[in-house]
Symmetry: C2
Subunit: 229 residues, 2 copies
């Protein structure tokens, strides 16, 4: 079956920059390409947009198919439309970035026999197409967004310590923060629920656990409240 159009059409693809955070650093998920061009090379997960799905749906589908990742924070990043960004065909790609709780996705499901693996964002191999540029833009967006929107929580388990949260910000912003000032500020937002629980199995005083109060955030947001760290 073939499809015919009066004018030539670019192919339309999606690519996803998936971020995760572990004890060491910020990670990006890469997939070993199963097809040419660049077969065997590490690249961003992605694929072509089908005719009967939205572009957003395509991004979610590719994440699920290629990495077994579902129900994550996913947001459109930028559309890359240079004529020669793909050496074979004209392909325009809508890039997305995702934030996942690494604890949930430590073992990446490489579904169709393709390898998937986490790489430190600061030590990525050189990537095919314009994927280096896409990752660069995603990092910049992440750094810009994390201070003004409550998305840092997406990288942590549902229950987390304030020190873990501080590490999220320090890792993304690439600078150290003052512990007391940080706590003052995040608790000052009124968006952290203090739980009657502490972390388990640590070889020192156990820290209190908190949750992000998403419901309250949505209410405040309606009234024009701006999150800021």
């Amino acid at each position: 079956m073939a499809f015919s159009y009066e004018h030539a059409r670019p192919a339309l693809a999606v690519d996803c920059v998936v971020f995760g955070l572990d004890d060491e650093d910020l990670k990006v998920l890469l997939i070993q390409r199963g097809v040419d061009p660049f077969q065997g090379k590490w690249a961003l997960p992605g694929g072509f947009v089908r005719i009967d799905e939205s572009v957003d749906e395509a991004a979610r589908r590719e994440l699920a198919e290629e990495a077994g990742i579902t129900r994550v924070f996913l947001e459109q990043l930028y559309t890359f439309g240079a004529v020669a960004r793909d050496p074979r065909d004209r392909v325009v790609s809508v890039a997305y970035y995702a934030l996942v709780k690494l604890s949930d996705h430590r073992v990446v499901a490489a579904t169709d026999a393709r390898e998937a693996a986490w790489f430190a964002a600061s030590e990525l191999p050189s990537l095919p197409f314009d994927h280096d540029e896409i990752v660069g833009k995603a990092l910049a967006r992440l750094q810009g967004s994390v201070r003004y929107r409550p998305i840092g929580f997406e990288l942590l388990p549902q229950k987390f310590t304030l020190t873990q949260l501080q590490r999220v910000y320090e890792t993304i912003l690439e600078k150290t923060l003052d512990k007391r000032n940080f706590r003052k500020k995040v608790l000052g937002t009124g968006l952290l629920l203090e739980l009657d629980e502490v972390e388990q199995d640590v070889a020192h005083r156990a820290a209190r656990l908190y949750m992000f109060d998403k419901k309250r955030y949505r209410e405040l947001e309606k009234d024009g409240f701006l999150f800021e760290i």
Copy 2:
């Protein structure tokens, strides 16, 4: 001549939200559609991406063709990819927003006999496709960007008074600002060149003219300087 592909492909279009500022308010440029669907209705300027041009180039070309607008600030906004956003065909649209000096484009060149006109952003007619949503997103982006990036100047003549600049911010942010504090802040950026000129033909004391120091901004930007009003 027809083009045939193994898989069905969405058509790829661009749409542009062009902002201008006059004495009254913030304006958006609309074009009367020359073709179906929605022939005769006011809509955003735009059109299909050609196979041999980048998406950015397509946006600039459409602006030039449909409105005679060239050499303006133009930036990608968001890609709209819902399946049914166009009632006839599957069309994914990469939206852009542009800022123009209305003084330069007061008379819009309606090239191919189609009408073009400026509408107050707050009183737009209801637009076809998802163009209402696109304009909404463009306004939100403009409001978010104007405080952190020196783009307000794009709406003014090269030489402007501080009162004109203040009006840019007041109009976009939809709130009044204190004159003394505003001046303190913009002059404090060190990015305004004070000229030895004043405005002409006003029935009161003539205000001093300033220019944005783009060269100096680019230097400071390299060193991590962040513009902020």
